[in-house]
Amino acid sequence: MSRIGVFVCHCGLNIAKTVRVSELAQFASTLPDVVVAKDYKFMCSTPGQEMIAHDIKQHRLDRIIVTACSPLMHEQTFRKVLAASGLNQYLLTIVNIREQVSWVTHDIEEGTAKAKALLNGAVYRSRLLAPLTSRVIDVNDDVMVVGGGIAGIQASLELANTGKKVYLVEKNSTIGGHMAQFDKTFPTLDCSACILTPKMDAVLQHKNITLMTYCEVSEVKGFIGNFDVTIRQKARYVDHSKCNGCLACTEKCPGKGLSEWDEGLVNRKAIHIPFPQAVPQKPVIDRDACTFFKKGKCRLCEKVCEHKAIDFDQQDTFTTVKVGAVIVATGYDLMDTKPLIQYGYGKYPGVYNALEIERLFNSTGPTGGKVTLRDGREPKAIAILHCIGSRDKNHYEHCSRVCCMYSLKFAHLFKEKTSADVYQFYIDMRAAGKGYEEFYNRIIEEDVKFIRGKGARVSKSAEEPDRLIVEAEDTITGKFVQLPVDMVVLSPAMIPRSDTESIKRLFNLSTDKYGFFMERHPKLAPLSTMSEGIFIAGVCQSPKDIPDTVAQANGAAAEALTIVEKDKLELEATTAMVNPASCCGCQNCVRVCPYGAPAFNETKRVSEINEALCKGCGLCASVCPSAAIIARHFTNDQVLAEMEGLMEF
């Protein structure tokens, strides 16, 4: 016999609108073992929580059912109420009548009927719940940050400044990310490098940060508080412990590869640092471009290196570090616009993508900051095409958020650096952000032409072979526009990094339909993920500008800190155990467990589960033919009872 209390929440009208809450409470009071059933406007409010606490005492309740929103919202809230009232927190059951009932129907009859069935199921299950004891584990103090763009840099610095040790892992040979490629930043037009490079340097100098460039995460084991992350240090062919960064090697090197940094607009050496302010200031050899690796001869770099730092035999190495939390800040790629043949990117030399333009403006860029076409001409007319591949049902439905603003920035810089006419082809101008609307107004004043219509096609001009024709429908005048220009700038969709899949697998993250990492809750846990102890920041979560990215990075750092600040952490107690009396020794559990938690005891001829390794998925319980495995909190009898309750009404 248990003593169940049922607490039905109205959630204002969120639930009460399509579920008759008092009728539901009345119904609950007729169910077996239910001692008290109440409804209340906001059960999660302080008075609501106090009511539950009070009733636990007064009615000596030993099971609590809260009929409210999703357990993913408030399970923790109510578990705390139970714990504070001296009741084991696992004796709580949440019935989700908001997200899965009241919000998905307009019909109060249907809603009420379904809520009753769900509640009945919960009562059946609740009666069979058992108190569980949480496991307490030690927490590692250190944090790993994956991705060395502005998000990763910011998060690392914040954490390191609190005294935590940070491992910053970057796959490229320098940190800095996309922000380091930019010339100016909107809307303030301050120089990107001027604000970023001091931070890059601070990372390098910081005693609490271990900078791991040219590295990739290759394996992640463990769980919140205790991750074992294996890092692959890709072979640089330069021993950085010997290299003093004199860069004599880069001067002599005859090998050439496309500069990733300059978006492939120019070549760089095979042995190179990506850009002058790169951090660290030590080169790597690009195997594919290196004359020695290609032809077996050269080794000029080796000859000029006074410190004998060149090592052609260097291999990838692996190191495993222990951390308590991880921040994933892997950033973005620009969509490849070549397949969008209507825009002629890759076909017409006059068509550029936005990052290439960033480099053209930049004094360290391929043209030394002069805006010239690939053939050296200065453009007379420039069209900037917004929303290429984004806000497009055929490609990416999402808005990339920053393109309107950087397109305005481009317009300004074009005006500053050339005498060209500048045209913006846009669907809508989106200038929501501090100082953004003002910036938009300022650019309008700068004699930039705005044509409201998405660029439809770029083709070669028939009359002037050097020029391009941009076609669009001007949706304000309703007229078809054909505009001759010299340069076309595409603002492509920002999309997740090409290696998102592997990052997702490694850290057990989910992604949305575009591949951006899913947050635990879109509003209330935007930096947490479904994997405890793993946080996300920056554009890998969704497109955003630098201020938002930095804010997220600080937030993620704070989130990580809340974990690694603790000495001990309580883990979910919902692990599996073996009832040795029923174990038939088939070892199915041992074969299937992804975590190696079950092991076969050869002496006793039964399986045993190591709870420290168990993550509570319940797979072992379902493959156990003799039902010897008890998946705590989701036991066979609990699930069957809930099913029975659900099917009764």
């Binding site: 357990p71 993913l72 997200e99 019909d107 989910s510 992604t511 797979l619």
Partner: protein, 138 residues
Amino acid sequence: MSFEPKILGIACNWCTYTGADLAGTTRLQYPQNLRVVRVMCSSRINPSFIFRAFQLGADGVLVGGCHPGDCHYNTGNLYARRRLAVTKKILEFSGIEPERFRVEWISASEGNRYAEVVTEFTEQVKQLGPQTKFKISR
């Protein structure tokens, strides 16, 4: 009065259950015939749960898990896929309409798809009529 089927849902916590929440958050409307049991992973589902559901009078059973490759527990749903496929073959050979049992991969971001699947499956089960073969008469 038209036949309103009772459908049992078993959804994994990380993907389908969260997707179902998302359907609610975005106020998508779908039929109320489905009652969901939350489990941590679709691999938790014992074949006997499915047989039992039909015995308890379910007119249809819908299992929802993460897309293969996206399992929160890495490989759980890959085992589930095989085990539930066999469950379905057993149901079919025993003479119950296999259309009454469906497994769908619905991610946490696919609220739309969740609503679509529930709507479509409810309609399908409605067409099949009441499930009486396994149901234990009380």
